[in-house]
């Protein structure tokens, strides 16, 4: 164990310092370009799912809000990016911003409902809102293309230089870059006074008003931020695959992202990224063995992790590391 820091300010500063392991982790995300050039499509999907899981982590892992309807914001972002490219232009970054703003707007409006409830009621409300939006998108065929999917997206070259290629090289580089930037923002948020208040809400909802905190205002804010991040993830999938299908809004997507986060470890910043990687790589491998039954193996994995590692894979690893250090 490192010696205790000299003063409390230095101590709090030390909590947000970059660790060598973190730098190694981000360098490792570049490896697929050389090691798995045929899997860059999958790598792109992982980067997008990781961003989506990171957005969920802010509300679930940090503020303790369990949502089963988070795909709503992913879908809003995806369709917004699609519509933007079709009716405004194909520039990617402005498309991302438009998607983030639209998802944030949806998040902000629904946050007034979400912030009023806890526990099972809250789960049902998020689930209901998600289903509602999915059905609305299905019936709004003239905008979304309904179950046929949204067609006609064409993107410009990223920064005027890099065309989205067949191998997914540009797609992965672009998504990874966006993931990294959003991650930096999330990391900043977690280490901020606001982030501390979110942890307070997760740790003790009842005590917060007794120290003068307006938890609902905090929740409305983090929910809006989280929705914007989920919207960016949705926009990335729309831009890099140049199509949006209705399952961007599906319940399955909402459930999958919860599973990813729980697998990786909620409330750990890297939990979503690790969980998304494991989930999608497992899906890729297992569906190679028996395409219809790959959820069986995800089920096995989920049950094992939850039973043996209550804080997810990262939680288990950090407990192991702490044990090893104490020796």
């Amino acid at each position: 164990m490192a010696p205790p820091p000299a003063n409390p300010q230095a101590y709090l500063q030390s909590l947000s310092r970059w660790r060598p392991l973190e730098i190694a982790f981000w360098l490792a995300t570049l490896l697929p370009f050389w090691l798995f050039p045929n899997y860059l499509g999958l790598a792109n999907q992982i980067a997008v799912a990781a961003l989506f899981a990171l957005s969920l982590d802010l509300i679930l892992g940090y503020a303790g809000i369990v949502s089963l309807g988070h795909a709503a914001f992913f879908g809003v972002g995806a369709y917004t990016a699609g519509l933007f490219s079709k009716f405004v232009w194909g520039e990617v970054f402005t498309g991302l911003i438009a998607a983030a703003l639209m998802a944030a707007l949806f998040g902000y409006v629904s946050s007034f409902i979400v912030a009023r409830f806890r526990h099972l009621t809250l789960i049902m409300i998020t689930l209901g809102l998600g289903l509602l939006l999915h059905s609305a998108a299905n019936s709004a065929h003239f905008i979304t293309g309904g179950s046929d999917g949204f067609q006609g997206i064409s993107m410009w070259k990223v920064a005027g230089l890099f065309r989205f290629d067949l191998y997914g090289q540009t797609a992965y580089a672009y998504s990874l870059g966006v993931l990294f930037i959003v991650f930096l923002c999330a990391r900043r948020l977690i280490n901020s006074p606001f982030g501390l208040s979110l942890r307070g809400i997760r740790e003790n909802w009842v005590r917060m008003p007794a120290i003068g905190a307006d938890s609902r205002a905090h929740i409305r804010k983090v929910y809006t931020i989280s929705a914007a991040m989920a919207g960016i993830a949705g926009a990335l999938i729309a831009q890099t695959t140049q199509t949006v299908s209705l399952d961007a809004l599906s319940f399955e997507r909402s459930a999958d992202v919860v599973v990813m986060l729980v697998l990786g470890g909620a409330g750990r910043l890297y939990g979503g990224i690790v969980g998304a990687s494991i989930f999608l790589i497992a899906r890729d491998q297992f569906s190679g063995i028996a395409p219809q039954y790959w959820y069986f193996w995800i089920g096995v994995l989920l049950v094992m992790v939850v039973m043996l590692l209550p804080n997810g894979i990262l939680g288990g690893l950090s407990a192991l590391l702490a044990k090893w250090r104490r020796k």
Binding site: P8, S197, R199, E203, P209, A210, I211, G212, A213
Partner: protein, 259 residues
């Protein structure tokens, strides 16, 4: 309420006017009228189920009253949310620890200080840049003899230390009136004195109301005692008056389990 009423109560840190609350047929607070002068050390005593914690819940807004008003420094706060009351200087602690289990004391108290200073909405800056808030938090911890455990996870602290952290969290809101719900509950008797020494050492500007069962502690630290029975104020007075009151002996002191 009339202007005269407002003026009459403005000399008090905390007042209640005809405060009442019932759950169906069960009356838990019956027409409670109290006036706590600034800097007073009030003890609230009474048998189990007398409505002591309920009264604190009513005062802090965690339970809305059916009738009556609560005045903080002469200002009617009855309609305010619990957090708005805290912002105006009315803080409380809990009988059963209500802490942030996975935060350490420094983080928990810094959280409370940041909420009070209005910097908690800032999501773009590192917490560590708020030097004054952090030093204020650390200073509170040191005053409550928690400096040496400031970086330990709360749930791993000895129970007595956790009770002190309860008080530290409330102090971080810079209260004018502090309501302590059995601050030494569950602490071995030989340690409960330590906790009350800390309570007694708090600033004289701070108005205190504490619930306590141990009569030695009550008589030692209170300047005034309120006896609550069946949701109503049975009597109130100085420790000497209460000790001499035969009615109190009967309903409360005679039935106590210890001392």
């Amino acid at each position: 309420m009339s202007v005269a009423d407002t003026n009459a109560s403005s000399g008090f840190a905390l007042s209640t006017r005809g405060l009442s609350r019932s759950f169906g047929q069960l009356v838990v607070a019956r027409d409670i009228n109290l006036n706590l002068p600034v800097g007073a050390r009030y003890a609230l005593i009474g048998p189990n189920g007398a409505g002591k914690t309920t009264l604190i819940n009513l005062m802090t807004g965690m339970l809305p009253p059916n009738h009556g008003q609560i005045l903080l420094g002469g200002e009617d706060i009855t309609a305010l949310t619990p957090q708005a009351r805290v912002k105006r200087g009315l803080a409380r602690t809990f009988q059963i620890n209500s802490l942030f289990a996975h935060l350490n004391p420094l983080e928990a108290v810094t959280l409370a200080v940041c909420e009070r200073r209005g910097i908690s909405p800032k999501f773009w800056q590192n917490i560590a840049v708020n030097k004054e808030a952090i030093e204020e938090a650390y200073d509170i911890l040191t005053r409550l003899k928690l400096g040496d455990v400031a970086y330990q996870t709360t749930r791993e602290l000895p129970y007595g230390r956790q009770r002190l952290l309860e008080i530290a969290l409330a102090l971080a809101t810079k209260p004018k009136v502090l309501l302590l719900d059995e601050p030494a509950a569950g602490v071995p008797q030989e340690e409960s004195g330590d906790i009350f020494e800390v309570v007694a050492s708090l600033s004289n500007d701070l108005t205190l109301l504490f619930i306590e069962h141990d009569m030695h502690v009550v008589f030692r630290f209170a300047t005034h005692i309120i006896v609550l029975v069946g949701g109503a104020v049975f009597t109130e007075g100085s420790p000497a008056e209460i000790a001499a009151d035969p009615g109190v002996r009967e309903v409360y002191l005679g039935k106590r389990h210890h001392g």
